[in-house]
Amino acid sequence: MYEKIWEAHLVRPSQGDTAILYVDRHLVHEVTSPQAFAALRETGRSVAHPEKAFATMDHNVSTRTKDWSLVEKTSRVQMETLQKNCKQFGIKLYDFADAHQGIVHAIGPEMGITQPGMTIVCGDSHTSTHGAFGALAFGIGTSEVEHVLATQTLQQDKARTMLIRIDGTLKPGVTSKDIILAIIGKIGTAGATGYVIEYAGSAIRKLSMEGRMTICNMSIEAGGRAGMIAPDETTFEYLQGREYAPKDELWDKALAYWKTLPSDPGSRFDTVVELDASTLKPQVTWGTSPGQVVSVEDKVPDPESFTNPVDRTAARHALQYMDLKPGTPMAGIKVNKIFLGSCTNARIEDLRDAARIVKGKKVHKDVQAIVVPASEGVRRQAEKEGLDKIFKDAGFEWRFAGCSMCLGMNDDQLKPGERCASSSNRNFEGRQGPGGRTHLMSPIMVVAAAIEGKITDARKYL
């Protein structure tokens, strides 16, 4: 599938230098774009195809207010800069107060901007999310953002291909988040560096689009340039009728093309990894890298048990930062912050699954818990279904959409020493706030931790 999409977008093959690849859709946000627009102005270049770019504000927006006058000053400068740039260059912007605002990787699929067979880029590493539709989607730096704006193309070298086949049936309470955390634990945070991953197998086929997006989203956490899943009826059903999805004859034409995208039987991959979904248990990270992960039934590992000296040192650093002792059972580790949010796990299905567990229960008295829907669209849908009420009644704060405490660029941050059960994607040192400690897990594990004030096996609440 990667090869098919690559070939279909090749403007110029490499002649000992680099290939030029056409970009179908370019997603833009406030943090990684201002310098690119400024450089275009300095060099007198224009935007080649403003109609192929879509912008929103997500990284540093407040999730507490939609009032511009209350936005923190430096964030506001960045947000206003994006407004100005989009206006000058004619790019569609879903800004702070827009009904469709949200995390860029949530609104792309939601609005039907993301489609199979496309090349999609964005100045954000979690662009790999869109691969769930059978698109080739990856994150780029600001210089590349400028390059795409100016030429609608990218200089690219072909990646190697990795097939990750996940067969078997997930046990109740085990989710797509647990699949991807287990994969990263297995192949390592650099296990897929230089590769584009294709996820396949019966367990993947059974997942909803939301579940598939969670898996593709964290491909970058395994080092992969992109992660993709072949489109099927689940994909087409999700897309049909969405605002930017093709309509009428164009839909038929597109659909016929999309059906040609899946890898042909017997396709060769440079590397193949296999995983049995039926043996998986809920996963929780113990360290400061997503690969430092065990099941909720396990204990914090002993750094001395790692044979590789580099891993041993990393584990020692991580346990020191996380203030954990080897041998401590994961279930029972106390947490005082709860973050249900991010482009990994704050779509409607995540909120539904979490709300089912929360219903009729209370957030533990020592815990502050926030729910940040991935988009305003998700927020509205959740409110229509009454999920907001379930969360609020339990003591969760119900917020507006944004990246929020996944990276703590706004005012949602951990304080030094605080420990968070988080549905996000990175447990790096200081990621959610300087000195903050993050345990990554699935949405249902996050809310179970909220109820008990400690990491716990969510399966008991099913």
Binding site: V11, T18, Y22, A38, N60, V77, T142, A190, W251
Partner: protein, 204 residues
């Protein structure tokens, strides 16, 4: 873009794997709309004891007198992983780093460095280990990198050959304007777009 041909400088050992771009430059400094001035925020959480960055952490490698003026960074596996923020290479370049040597680098970070005139050298693990040993034993020693010859020279004078993507090499040697390079093929892009309109009209 600043060209890179060769460079000799003090090498600092950053003995950690999986150094992510959040660690290279944390989120609170990403609100700027300029490319400049990120050097003072480089490795902020390790380099300073306080959030404001007024008190240096004396234990952090770049705060040790012998390494303060380092322009070559020795690192471990998967350096630059995580977020795609180009602020990370901006901070490294602004601080003064011209060369980073590690066994492996993250993908997006690698591309971002090439765009900013920073040479990333991937050497074998045992070679990186040997460099670490030398600059830890004798702090302040210099390491050289020559992109034309594709060699690194350690303080003892031993040379190591490295491989590099030929296009990245050309870009760095010439300080190439990437957009200008692609724009030579403007006619090919136009042809592609014509074909796209006909074959996949839903994409245009």
């Amino acid at each position: 873009m600043q060209a890179f041909i060769r460079h000799t400088g003090i090498a600092a050992p950053l003995d950690r794997v999986n150094v992510d771009t959040d660690a290279i430059v944390p989120k609170q400094f990403l609100r700027k709309i300029e490319r400049s001035g990120f050097g003072k925020h480089l490795f902020h959480e390790w380099r300073y004891l306080d959030y404001e960055g007024t008190r240096e952490n004396p234990d952090f490698v770049l705060n040790k007198p012998a390494y303060r003026k380092a322009t070559v960074l020795l690192a471990r596996d998967n350096f630059g992983c995580g977020s795609s923020r180009e602020h990370a290479p901006w901070a490294l370049a602004d601080y003064g780093f011209r060369v980073i040597i590690a066994p492996t680098f993250a993908d997006i970070f690698y591309n971002n460095c090439v765009k900013n005139g920073i040479l990333l050298v991937a050497l074998k693990s045992d070679e990186v280990e040997s460099l670490f040993r030398q600059v830890i034993q004798k702090p302040g020693e210099q390491v050289s990198a020559d992109l034309e010859k594709q060699t690194v020279t350690d303080p003892a004078g031993k040379q190591y050959h490295f491989e590099i993507n030929p296009f990245a090499r050309t870009c760095l040697l010439k300080g190439l304007d990437h957009i200008g390079w692609t724009q030579q093929f403007a006619d090919k892009i136009r042809d592609f777009e014509q074909k796209l309109k006909q074959e996949k009209p839903w994409l245009t």
